[in-house]
Assembly symmetry: C2
Homo-oligomer: 337 residues x 2
């Protein structure tokens, strides 16, 4: 019988055990000279161009799920918030809150997953922090990542940039992440059929940024799903958005799971999709450039922006009727990301 290696309170205490954890678990995997300098701040040197800065906390339950884990999510979520601003992700920081007793093997698996995701996203993890709280004062681990990126030259996107007439483009099918986590949590039989779409999107959306396209807005539809993202940018831009139900891609497995669980895929979280608003004469070029990328093969034009009513999102259903897509008060699924 071997003792399971666990996170101890002393691992967060600023002493030699914390030093060991940082070197052996984090630095050895993230393996970045700026991080290894172990100063109070990372020296990033000169950052040419315009900088973007973002942060997100991740508390997903369970921490491992089909298609990803809290570590991959923490990297991709922050990379995608930079990408939504038209910013190439350059540097990430990661702050960990660990629960005493967390198996070190779980932490190592999460850190390895972050390392892979960062490599895929070509972003460097250069700063970090670790705190440990007593058993029962957190749930396994939480991760807060922040990111610094460089806004691509000539690109100016914002949630407030949508103009009447813009075409709405979605980079792929919705609902995968939320359903994958939900099924993993409930341990339902058909869990294996749906995987989280968790993926870093800069490589994909940069094709749209650099296609000479007239790109006005991007938003990644995470918590609250496509419905929340559409409502947010409609409100910020003071326009109405009209979505065509038939053109919104949803996998059959996700549709079935949503029906069984009583969920509407429009409201289910995504972690590897982007919603774009582009000028009508740029729509074909953007769609075609997105579709050439593996993460955008199912990209589709799903609707349009109208001059008003300001902030309103409407769905044209398969039956030809319309219904208002409101922002729900909360998420059906807590701790989805």
């Amino acid at each position: 019988m071997t003792m399971e290696r666990q996170v101890l309170l002393a691992h967060g205490g600023g002493g030699s055990l914390m030093g060991e954890l940082i070197r052996e678990v984090f630095h050895s995997r993230f393996n970045d000279p700026i991080l290894a300098a172990a100063d109070d701040s990372a020296n990033l040197g000169a950052l040419p161009g315009r900088a973007a800065f973002t942060t997100d906390a991740f508390v997903v339950d369970p921490i491992f799920f089909p298609g990803g884990d809290i570590g991959k999510l923490a990297v991709c979520g922050t990379v995608n918030d930079l990408a939504a601003q038209g910013a190439e992700p350059l540097f990430l920081s990661a702050a960990f809150v660990l629960e005493e007793g967390l198996p070190l093997a779980d932490l190592e698996r999460v850190v390895e997953s972050m390392t892979s995701a960062a490599a895929e996203a070509r972003v460097r993890i250069v700063a970090g922090d670790t705190k440990v709280v007593p058993r029962g004062k957190a749930d396994k681990l939480f991760i807060a990542t922040s990111g610094v990126g460089r806004i691509a030259d000539g690109v100016s996107v914002s949630g407030s940039g949508v103009k009447p007439g813009d075409v709405l483009i979605l980079t792929g099918p919705i609902g995968d992440h939320g359903i994958a986590v939900m099924l993993a949590r409930e341990q339902m039989g058909f869990a294996a059929e749906v995987e989280s779409d968790c993926a870093p999107l800069w490589d994909l959306v940069s094709t749209a940024c650099f296609a000479g396209a007239d790109l006005h807005a991007m938003r990644d539809p995470t918590r609250g799903g496509l419905a929340a993202a559409a409502n947010e940018i409609a409100r910020q831009s003071g326009v109405a958005l009209e979505l065509d139900e038939d053109s919104i891609p949803v996998r059959d497995s996700v549709r079935v799971a949503c029906e069984l669980l009583g969920l509407d895929p429009l409201y289910v979280a995504n972690e590897g999709k982007m919603l774009l608003a582009v000028a009508p004469d740029s729509a074909e070029a953007v769609l075609s450039s997105l579709r050439k990328h593996p993460l955008g093969a199912q990209a589709a034009a799903i609707g349009r922006a109208l001059s008003g009513p300001s902030g309103r999102v409407v769905l044209r259903t398969s039956l030809g009727t319309t219904r208002i897509i409101d922002l729900p008060p909360g998420e059906q699924l807590p701790r989805i990301c």
Copy 2:
């Protein structure tokens, strides 16, 4: 009887309740146009010079203590990590993990405290995120702050920059923060006598950065106290450090509390102090510029760097003996910051 307003799970759900919380609790107080743009990332514009980037998670218990609270700590801690790199703090992000049931009044008090601390530090809070976890899955609230700063021109400090012969300067008395939190936690009778030193230090240390001084290293002695900070920079720089016990300022109240609690002030956390290593011929100028600032009135030269043994920290005691100051395995006090 009035119902206490509380944080609900739906406040983290990405829907309209989250929007209300963000606008009414956070945006109204942080009151920054970049934050109010509510995009996925903050557009910082051009950042001239060299950029510094840092992150920290804060899990202090209790969240309110004499001299500060988790919000002030979250701002000052990150500002001070930038300052330790010789970087003027410019922008902060804040990611919150809230426990369902947290009184909204507590959250508002913390956010107001962050607002004041940010104003004092002249730093802008431009990005944020809020997650809510079910009751019992976190402890009230955790905050992860990240910071972006500009490294002052001509300044090059690092924990690895200490040179043999350097004079070690401490900006004021040690142990206040750790003792204040410990006494608040234990609800001891003499709690009111010790206040946390929690303060933003850039304004203070910039006087040293700009004094034309030959400044080699800075480190803020937080978790693990002065002992940990000294051990870290001794190890990074490959030098030995010798501290003079009699010259290290400690308040009488802190000394008494440490004796009662069985703690060594060298190992107790600080949140408003900086340890500096400067070339001998710059020491007087740095000390004099620090002492002119209210936060540095008790600044003192507390020791020196020697060529070796590499990584060793030694204390010259009042009795003329020496003892090795090791890095302890962990902190005596979990959740001190």
